[in-house]
């Protein structure tokens, strides 16, 4: 087995950061004053994101010259885990912080870096990602969105779906075909698209629970100037693969349902838990603890310049299946009825998580795709 997980020991500085974030949240967002999110399924709040930006907690790994904190993936892990387990409104900065700033730093021009990264680090700009299409879900190389070279830029046509937060975002990183190629993994490129450009239309795709989490984005003759080509023309496939590999091993892949466990225990504080309740909460807590070690280990590997693609996929698979198992366990323990209309916070959280739960093992790489990636890493 070639997987390289190593136990992480936090430094003093990292522990101090944890304390700082906890104190910030207790102060800024006291419990009981807001409806907690379920991991990254949380409200968008630009001013909250800007406060995080002011603390240096967005784009944490970015260089100081672009407004970043020059800290690393583990630091980001520690900040994000606190935000998620608190149920904080992270949606505004989510995509920009998790992956857009990384991909721009890695593949962008100096001009692009200066234009976008400081604004991301400040919590000003929200990004979304244009990968999936009606006939290209797990099979991304099948994208049909096409950009044709025109004078001074590209003319973009096509439709992206399952785009999270497109109706609230400012920018859109679009994977599109810019050249025909025998190997369909070649000839793809990434373009930075201003969502307010003429020809961009965002249509909501209502979610199973009636909410509006993702959108269809239709692009008709959208002009994208040359300076917004991200990275190299024709290398979009490799750039995207890299981007997905980064996002997979984070705390958002096992913490979506932590709130359920905490709220269950809060509702039962001061009472003696039954045998089964002790077992199931103990099972959940032990597993949170264990999976967290793996997730933080992936982030330490990133900080060391390693490329833990299989490890990150493993954490995603293990973590998201666990998130779903937590819902099942808590639903089993709870005797009442989950409902979005309930007066009980726990029952509302349970209802939201039952409705959103199936997406955990689909978004960001389905379990089926991950199995392939991880098993390749075991050879």
């Amino acid at each position: 087995m070639t997987l390289g997980f190593e136990l992480v020991e936090l430094t003093e500085g990292e522990r101090a950061l944890q304390q700082e974030v906890r104190a910030f949240l207790a102060e800024e967002l006291p419990r009981g004053t807001f409806e907690p999110g379920l991991g990254m399924d949380a409200p968008a709040d630009r001013s909250f994101s800007q406060k995080l930006g002011a603390k240096g907690w967005l784009g944490m790994a970015m260089p100081a010259r672009y407004g970043g904190a020059e800290r690393g993936a583990v630091d980001r892990f520690l900040v994000v885990e606190e935000l998620l387990r608190w149920g904080a409104p992270v949606y505004h900065h989510w995509t920009a912080d998790r992956q857009s700033c990384q991909v721009i730093l890695r593949f962008g021009t100096e001009e692009q870096k200066q234009r976008f990264i400081p604004a991301i680090c400040a919590g000003d700009l929200a990004f979304c990602i244009g990968l999936s299409e009606p006939d290209a879900g797990s099979d991304l190389a099948a994208v049909k969105t096409r950009a044709v070279k025109v004078d001074g830029g590209w003319q973009l046509n096509g439709t992206k779906i399952w785009t999270t937060a497109a109706h609230e975002a400012d920018w859109f990183i679009v994977l599109c075909r810019t050249a025909e190629a025998e190997d369909r993994h070649h000839g793809l490129s990434q373009l930075l698209v201003d969502l307010s450009s003429p020809g961009v239309q965002v249509n909501p795709i209502p979610f199973l629970d009636g909410g509006h989490h993702f959108s269809e984005v239709v692009m008709t003759d959208v002009f994208v100037p040359d300076e917004l080509l991200l990275g190299e023309a024709g290398r979009g496939w490799e750039q995207t693969g890299n981007e997905l590999a980064y996002e997979r091993g984070g705390p958002d892949r096992f913490l979506s349902t932590w709130t359920l466990v905490e709220q269950y225990l809060r509702d039962h504080e001061g009472t003696e838990l039954g045998e089964r309740a002790r077992e199931l909460t103990g099972w959940a807590v032990a597993r949170f603890w264990g999976i967290r070690q793996l997730s933080i280990a992936v982030n330490r590997m990133i900080d060391r310049g390693l490329a833990p693609a299989a490890e990150a996929a493993l954490v995603k698979d293990l973590g998201t299946r666990f998130e779903q198992d937590v819902i099942a366990a808590l639903a089993e323990l709870h005797d009442g009825f989950a409902s979005l209309d309930s007066q009980s916070l726990f029952e509302r959280l349970l209802a939201r998580s039952i409705l959103a739960g199936p997406s955990y093992t689909i978004r960001g790489g389905t379990t089926e795709i991950l199995v392939g990636i991880i098993s390749k890493g075991l050879r």
């Binding site: 006939d135 099948a142 399952w162 209502p206 209309d341 409705l355 089926e368």
Partner: protein, 349 residues
């Protein structure tokens, strides 16, 4: 099981015609589906299984459950189970008139406080399906001396709108010294009512599981990725198989429980159905991918109902415990024979 095939065809036609995607979405917004109800009521479907002498449409329990199963396939957003098999059965059994229009039932959740004090209803009842849309709310309550069947007009109560996970009304009803429109001694205890309620949910769930399996098989045969139908991938096939297993298991269990209606078979069937609700919805959603998470695709009409019905009238743990108690009450040497016979022989010692 000799349900008239014509009855099933008719029910299938009515619900297939009326329970369109748009109708279900509208029902969820409006809290009722008059079109679905009207079509079903026109041909008497809600009252099948209630004797004609009591104002019902005749037919037996098996007929009524078979219709319910068809309704489950289509997610019919109307109080079908409540009107006939539950409220109708209670009213008819107590010698009261079943009446016209939709009826609903107080399911009797833990924590409910409804009781009859000096001939007037006091307290709170939760989870009442379509309380606002019903012509009457029926309940089994204690008057201190024994169980009584009561019926009252929704207008006489305070109704707080609550929806289950499928957006079906499961309202909270507050009653403050309301005189019931009808009242008579009940031969049915709340435990028996819960068993019958569970049986209706088993039938609905069997239908929904069947439809979910069919829908998922069809979608994965059509949806292509990496140059082939996704149903060609082993991991997707595994989902299809697990889903079909759940549908087959609950389908036969529903038939068996409906045939006998004995406690063991109903309890076992609801335990199986509620567990299947979790595993089957998981498999179906995973096989569908992102498409299944959208409101526009019909999977959620089935999966959200299964998540709701799973808990109604007792979840899997409740009924597994009950089956465990029944099993433990049999002499171990006779247990296998009892299970094989569905506990239809001698009562447990």
């Amino acid at each position: 099981m000799t349900v008239d095939p014509l009855l099933l065809e008719t029910a299938e036609r009515v619900f297939a015609d009326t329970c369109t995607h748009d109708a279900l979405e509208r029902a969820e917004a409006d809290g009722f589906a008059p079109g679905v109800w009207g079509a079903a009521a026109d041909i008497g479907l809600p009252w099948i299984g209630v004797p004609e002498s009591a104002g019902g449409a005749g037919g037996d329990l098996a007929d009524a459950l078979a219709v319910l199963r068809v309704a489950g396939r289509h997610g019919a957003p109307v109080p079908l189970a409540e009107t006939g098999l539950l409220a109708g059965w209670l009213l008819a059994g107590a010698g009261l008139a079943v009446g016209e229009g939709p009826s609903t039932l107080v399911p009797g959740r833990a924590g409910d406080t409804l009781e009859l004090v000096d001939g007037r209803l006091v307290g709170t009842a939760r989870g009442v399906p379509w309380a606002s849309a019903a012509e009457r709310i029926v309940a089994v309550v204690t008057d201190g001396a024994g169980w009584r069947v009561v019926a009252l007009a929704p207008a006489s109560s305070g109704i707080e709108r609550v929806r289950n996970l499928a957006g079906e009304p499961r309202d909270t009803v507050h009653l403050d010294r309301v005189e019931p429109a009808m009242s008579a001694p009940s031969s049915v205890s709340p435990d028996e009512l819960r068993l019958r309620g569970a049986l209706t949910r088993v039938a609905l769930m069997a239908g929904a599981l069947e439809a979910m399996s069919t829908l998922t098989v069809a979608y994965t045969a059509e949806r292509r990725q990496f140059g082939q139908a996704v149903a060609r991938f082993q991991l997707v096939q595994e989902h299809l198989v697990r889903l079909a297993e759940d549908a087959a298991l609950v389908g036969l269990a529903a038939d068996a429980a409906g045939r006998s209606a004995v406690t063991f078979e109903v309890a076992a069937a609801k335990a199986l159905a509620s567990r299947a609700a979790s595993t089957a919805t998981k498999a179906a959603h995973q096989a569908h991918g992102a498409m299944g998470m959208t409101r526009e695709y019909p999977l959620h009409h089935l999966s959200r109902r299964l998540w709701s019905w799973r808990d109604e009238y007792g979840d899997e743990r409740h009924w597994e415990r009950r089956v465990g108690e029944l099993a433990a009450a049999v002499e171990p040497a006779g247990l296998y024979a009892a299970v094989a016979g569905g506990f239809q022989g001698a009562p447990p010692r």
